[in-house]
Symmetry: C2
């Protein structure tokens, strides 16, 4: 029952579009769960998400899909063509997904929806015991998943491949060791310089409505399309796409500190620009999908840090910020820029400064590696975390909400996800350097609030490529070399000047 290559391809695309309708419905249900869903709805929602995930998995791993992919492989599409890219990447996913039983996909979905809710509760009550059984279950399910897949040289590598194709724990460990060594050399000086900047310098009253307006102005200015997206409020900020022109950002507000939501929005809007910049007509197909989480994170960190934490940004936005928050008048743009670059050891990753941020990641990487490889038991997590944290940061963790319960990722079964944050930081610095090389006047453009040349450069070299390349190939195609920590380290070191 062989059909013509183009018919097979069209049918395969149709199938993927249908599965994407389900995945996007799932994303909408997840978004709702985080933003608006009433609490008693959780039980039904968890079963609903499990069914939809399982069903999409069954459909994708069906013999029909496999045959369509085979037919497309025999069609002789050029490897660089959209058809070639989609066929190759779908084969890769198919071979992986068919190794996993749909029942495990369902079990994982339901367990993580429930764990997600237990985690919120445990964090609020600072009670690790409430989360422990869920964490244990998710580790077991993740290990099972890794065993079914068996693609990496260890379970952890197998899981990480979902987020960062081709990455390995062994390589990361050596990159991270080098990074830590280099950064540790100038970190004490950064801490010392930062001491002259009071931590409560900008503490004040910043009404949420004014924060929302300011954030919206900034997000719109960098190019986020509010006709194709919006910002809602959540406990744990994220960005998700519900369709090719439907990108939802979320943030949280602190009335005493407008910077938390501002940098949250800049970060998530960076993700959003990537999502909305992917080839729309390829939505739901590999050619219309992001390359990896390490690439995705490079986009968010680029706008958050390389744009949002510069002197130029605050020179430009100071007037508008004062318009919304009159008490900011007391501080010059340079004072604010200095403040947002101050560095000190702290407990919470998402509020950590750029200089210490990656140390938080490296800690999590080492811990989750042990959890998945069976070297650390779930019940021993708090003690291990607190001990390792003190070694890295010289601080005693006061309670688990400021320690091992602070992040959402493990409650979603996202083991192997954390290292992509530091890869993202490294990629961001490397991409930014290349954009500057390609646009000698980029700094002047940015200083005037003309963000389009930078966005266009990212669209051309990153967004429009979809999943056409592996993340490292994409970095090579965009910058001439694979991820090189050097640029990120250089940038961090240069921050000392800002602090002087």
């Amino acid at each position: 029952m062989s059909q013509s290559p183009s018919l097979a391809y069209t049918t395969l695309v149709q199938k993927c579009n249908e599965l994407t309708f389900i995945h996007s419905a799932n994303s909408a249900l997840h978004w709702d769960q985080e933003t608006y869903m009433p609490p008693k709805a959780l039980d039904y929602r968890s079963r609903q998400l499990a069914f939809l995930s399982g069903w999409a998995h069954k459909e994708f791993t069906s013999v029909t899909t496999g045959n369509l992919i085979s037919e497309c492989e025999q069609a002789g599409f050029s490897p660089d063509s959209v058809e070639g890219v989609n066929t190759r990447q779908l084969r890769h996913s198919y071979n992986k997904q068919t190794k996993i039983p749909s029942s495990l996909v369902e079990e994982m979905s339901q367990a993580s929806t429930l764990a997600r809710s237990a985690w919120v509760d445990a964090r609020a009550k600072r009670d690790f015991a409430l989360f422990l059984p869920h964490l244990g279950k998710l580790i077991t399910l993740s290990q099972k998943m890794a065993d079914y897949l068996g693609t990496g040289s260890c379970r952890y590598d197998t899981l990480m491949d979902e987020y960062e194709e081709g990455e390995s724990a062994a390589r990361l460990r050596s990159v991270f060791a080098e990074f830590r060594k280099e950064v540790s050399a100038f970190l004490p000086e950064a801490f010392e310089l930062s001491k002259s900047i009071p931590g409560n310098l900008l503490e004040g009253y910043y009404p949420i409505e004014a924060q929302q307006k300011f954030n919206r102005d900034v997000a719109a200015a960098i190019g986020f399309d509010f006709e194709a997206g919006r910002i809602d409020t959540t406990a744990h900020p994220f960005c998700t796409e519900l369709g090719p022109r439907d990108c939802r950002l979320t943030t949280r507000y602190d009335e005493r500190n407008f910077l938390s939501s501002l940098y949250g929005v800049l970060h998530e809007a960076g993700h959003g620009l990537y999502n909305l910049g992917l080839p729309e007509e390829q939505y739901g197909l590999p050619a219309g999908t992001y390359s990896s989480l390490g690439i995705h994170e490079s986009q968010s960190r680029l706008w958050e840090n390389h744009i949002g934490r510069t002197r130029e940004f605050w020179s430009l936005w100071h007037e508008k910020a004062v318009h919304y928050f009159p008490e900011l008048k007391r501080h010059s743009p340079d004072q604010i820029a200095r403040f947002v670059n101050r560095s000190e050891p702290s407990f919470i990753r998402v509020e950590a400064d750029e200089l210490t941020y990656d140390l938080h990641i490296i800690l999590r990487f080492e811990i989750e590696y042990r959890l998945i490889e069976g070297d650390l038991k779930a019940q021993d997590l708090p003690a291990f975390w607190n001990n390792e944290f003190e070694k890295s940061f010289g601080l005693k963790v006061p309670d688990d909400s400021q320690g091992c319960l602070q992040d959402i990722h493990w409650s979603m079964g996202g083991f192997g996800y954390f290292p992509t944050y530091t890869l993202g930081n490294m990629n961001a610095a490397q991409l930014m350097r290349k954009a500057h090389l390609d646009h000698p006047h980029l700094n002047e453009e940015l200083a005037r609030g003309r963000y389009t040349p930078l966005l266009d450069w990212l669209r051309t070299h990153i967004h429009s490529k979809g999943k056409r390349f592996s993340p490292q190939e994409l970095m090579k195609s965009a910058t001439g070399e694979a991820t090189n920590p050097h640029y990120h380290i250089t940038r961090l070191k240069k921050k000392l000047d800002l602090l002087k």
Copy 2:
């Protein structure tokens, strides 16, 4: 491959649960479309909803489902048992749904999502021409749907059967004629009495946030569970359920008039109490589904009008209303109660007083009957509407946004839906009378804000029954007789005393 009756039943239930996961996802996507979705997301959303509707339809109408129903029919379940009810009602739906091709379901879904958006635009711009092609298409598709089904004695009856099982246009026409005759006899007096109550009596400034708080207090007091539901803002208020414990109400706000959102919320919360009162363990099965729209509407109108528009309600809630809206202090509870019962001819159905409301419905019934039966062309709708409206209300329609473009229903392909509103009013009066007979002290309870006895009565006699009975059987079981317009007419006539 016959299985045991209980296994067949379990498998059928499982199948229905799965389909309900899809339907609930669709409801969530619809809810999102009305509340938060960014505009550019519409095109994808319409295709997504069409796919999901079509897919659920295909699965439900499959031979597998048919065989399961047949096996359950042969199992000899008692007709009154939950199993018997579910089997019988699923057979009824199956026989109907299998007559419709899934492609038509998809076409209808997509056409109505797009029409819904065109209608919003047309209404805002007061330009019927923008909506006309969509309306024409929906009429054609609805006629096609009716022809496939062919269950009623005319197309209109066939379509109405979806909303009100067993109802017919011929019977309604005679009920409505009688109703109109009786009400017309005392309507002029009501108009005359109302003239002494200024229409702008309560006009003022009512901040939206204060309205939200007051509405929430009232909804919680009548028993709406905010742990299992919420209120959001939309252009066209509605109530939808996304799960057995996930009921979403919506309303709209007018800062000059707090009554619009208050009665909107009381109305939708009435629907919500019904949804949340259905047997949870039967969610997604006929035994856990509402009986008909005429029954559903009886619940919303009961709380909105029989509770919310009484002197007792305003005596009880006056203090709290003044707390939120200090300027209300100028008016006594009785003055407010009189005001919310004043009657005058007006253009907008959803803002019409109780005495004229049903005349709006009868107008729509006569018009949609003609549209579906082919006696009125879509392009002739505005002229026909305006002419008939003037005959009924003595007013000239200034533009179509206050005429034939005011309601959402036709843009959703909901032909045959309108008459259920007046059936709902009639049912509400009849149920309320019976509740009073069963609870001689009900008035005193309600005056003290003890709404539980009434809610319990409704849960026992209506909510807990699901779709166990046809709507008319349900009315008989709850009140001893089928829908009888007499109680509604008597109530309306008694309103004259309130106006004196």
